[in-house]
């Protein structure tokens, strides 16, 4: 019951945040040069026709009026029509989303299955060769530009050795390279965070107590220290998933996956305001939910944070 109240409260707090984000993106797109009607109609159309379209679309209304209309429609799930693709923005996003979800699942699995154990091993064997190797590997993951990693993988795995398809989204095989590219950098962040958090916790008194009880070192680390050390890591994981779900812009473009990221890039390139606004709002909702889920997981892990 309390948890339910907590969730409701958090959702209510999220509403002003969402409206704020919508306002900012709306105003920003408003000052971007370029007339949507001209963009839609291509060249050689009569100025009278442009004017008539502007009136019909409500583009001549004051900014605030247009904004309130937008909010009003958005509340009903209507984010308008894409200028360029001439389709409902909500439909476009919902069609693209499953591709992004698929990519996210693979990338997140790679990040967690590799990142968390790597962080633990590094912390336990601090300053050893293994630690140095794992931390260098994760540093590469964190600092390597995604597009470069993607191109390198494509060159070697697809072009030279012909192990995987270059791009596309038809089969699971197509997902391997983009998942590695995305997962590697997330794994790097998670490994480094797990390591530093665990090292910090290992200095705590209760770890000494656990050792004094006669527990094996493995049980001390996994049973006592790790659960405490996971707090910041869980937050990071939730935020990463939320940001992966809102579209890996570069990765999706390089590998030709028609997900949210590519939709957003297309919207920017064609100045498709409703579509761009839609993807930004969608991303905001995902990030807010990600944070909410992280907070709920927090209270599952740490009884001190449990809402009372």
């Amino acid at each position: 019951m309390n948890t339910f109240k907590f969730i409701v409260k958090r959702i209510l707090i999220a509403i002003p945040v969402l409206i704020g984000v919508m306002l900012i993106i709306f105003l920003m797109l408003n000052v971007v040069p370029g007339d949507p009607v001209t963009l839609m109609m291509k060249e050689h159309i009569k100025p009278e026709l442009i004017e008539r379209m502007r009136v019909e679309m409500g583009l001549n209304d004051p900014v605030m009026v247009r904004f309130f209309n937008y909010i009003k429609n958005a509340a009903r799930g209507d984010f308008g029509m894409s200028y360029k693709l001439n389709r409902n923005v909500t439909d476009l996003i919902l069609n693209a989303f499953p591709h992004t979800v698929k990519l996210t699942i693979f990338a997140a699995l790679i990040a967690w299955i590799i990142g968390i154990p790597a962080g633990i091993i590094s912390a336990v064997k601090q300053n050893s060769l293994v630690d140095r190797f794992l931390m260098s590997f994760s540093l590469i993951g964190v600092s390597m530009p995604v597009f470069w990693a993607a191109l390198m993988l494509q060159y070697f795995l697809a072009f030279k050795w012909k192990l995987l398809p270059v791009s596309g989204y038809a089969t699971l095989k197509h997902m391997i390279m983009p998942a590695i590219v995305l997962g590697w950098s997330s794994a790097g962040t998670i490994a480094r965070l797990t390591r530093s958090s665990l090292l910090e916790i290992m200095k705590d008194d209760f770890v000494r107590t656990a050792r004094a009880k006669g527990l094996k070192e493995r049980a001390v680390v996994v049973g006592h220290a790790l659960k405490n050390a996971m707090l910041p890591v869980v937050t990071m994981m939730a935020i990463q998933v939320a940001s992966l779900l809102s579209g890996a812009v570069i990765t999706e473009s390089v590998f030709g996956i028609p997900g949210i990221g590519r939709l957003a890039v297309n919207a920017i390139q064609t100045r498709d305001m409703p579509l761009l606004q839609g993807t930004v709002v969608f991303t905001t909702v995902l990030i807010i939910s990600g944070n909410l889920i992280a907070d709920l997981l927090y209270s599952v892990i740490d009884p001190r944070i449990r809402v009372e």
């Binding site: 050792r211 004094a212 006669g214």
Partner: protein, 335 residues
């Protein structure tokens, strides 16, 4: 009295980049069966490191480099990792200064106590372990043990948490419980209760206690015999009554004078001048001489051994002091 634990010439040094820190530098302590032994000294005198050495939980860059630690005749320093784990929490348990942080915040106290049981007794199932935990909660005076069993540490007061720690330490009926400043973080009223509880459990169960503290008042309360440590060495050792009646070392004298007294009319509390020496740059002679009011030229030249002191209290056992002022014909063996 039979001897339970015998520490001989223990040396635990820390090998840091700046140099070697002799945190424990040749300490010999004897704990008889069913007794309460105190180790007193300022912060950094090596008393906690002595305790961690007994448990063999000294963390890098520290290492036990010499000496022996015999529990009922068996040298623990020869034990392997697994054998030593069977000793920890089972035959020798330990409680710590900060009950706030010594318990794991993410597990219930019940789970933490049953875990201590099940590490050493694989044949005990969950139900039975819970019963044992509830019994020990009763024994350490935790009200409503059934409810507390499912509490998290943050839901308990400092005194209750320390009771949980003591329960956790006593649940396997250890031969020795090491208590490292068990009451320092507690209110004075709670302090007395906890000390009384420890004494009671010690008498009922025949467990010996090695009590580490900086507080001579705590020592006077429950200890049978006391070791006074300074800069990694034992400076004086005596029966508690004897130590208070016939204080022989100038450092112990200073500690005694630093205890606030209700009757004292002096405005300022006595303090020992100077600071604890840097263990990496120890003075040449007696470790205490730079701060000693009665230091003689000889004290700066050579280090005194532990001289046997003539006792004034009857049946007080042996009394030793590391001071030339107590020079006598008898010196402690292998010191």
């Amino acid at each position: 009295m039979d001897e339970l634990l015998r520490i001989n010439n223990l040396k635990t040094h820390f090998f840091t980049k700046k140099g070697v820190v002799p945190a424990v530098d040749g300490v010999s302590i004897s704990v008889p069966q069913s007794s309460v032994i105190g180790v007193v000294g300022e912060s950094g005198c090596g008393k906690s490191m002595t305790a961690m050495s007994i448990m063999q939980l000294v963390q890098k860059p520290g290492r036990i480099i010499d000496g022996s630690i015999e529990l009922e005749g068996e040298d623990l320093l020869k034990y392997s990792g697994d054998n030593m784990r069977n000793i920890r929490g089972n035959k020798i348990s330990m409680i710590f200064q900060e009950p706030m942080t010594a318990l794991n915040p993410v597990y219930t106290v019940g789970r933490q106590v049953t875990e201590a049981i099940r590490i050493h007794h694989h044949d005990i199932d969950k139900e039975e372990a819970k019963k044992m935990a509830l019994d020990i909660f009763n024994a350490v005076g935790i009200p409503e043990p059934d409810r507390r069993f499912n509490s998290y540490p943050h839901q308990l007061s400092g005194g209750l948490r320390q009771r949980v720690m003591i329960g956790m330490a006593m649940v396997c009926n250890p031969r020795l419980m090491i208590a490292d400043e068990p009451t320092t973080a507690l209110d004075v009223t709670i302090e007395a209760q906890i000390l009384f509880l420890m004494k009671k459990l010690q008498e009922e169960r025949g467990t010996s206690i090695l009590l580490i503290t900086h507080n001579l008042g705590v020592v006077a309360e429950i200890c049978d015999y006391v070791y006074v440590m300074y800069a990694g060495k034992v400076m004086e050792q005596a029966n508690t009554f004897e130590l208070f009646k016939n204080t022989s070392h100038q450092y112990t004298e200073g500690l005694m004078k630093s205890i606030p007294k209700i009757t004292a009319e002096k405005e300022r509390l006595y303090n020992i001048k100077g600071v604890v020496p840097n263990l990496m740059k120890l003075p040449k002679g007696c470790r205490f001489c730079p701060r000693c009011e009665k230091a003689m030229p000889r004290c700066f030249m050579e280090e005194p051994p532990l001289y046997k002191v003539k006792t004034v209290v009857e049946n007080a056992g042996e009394h030793y002091a590391r001071c030339f002022l107590c020079e006598s014909s008898e010196v402690m063996n292998d010191d």
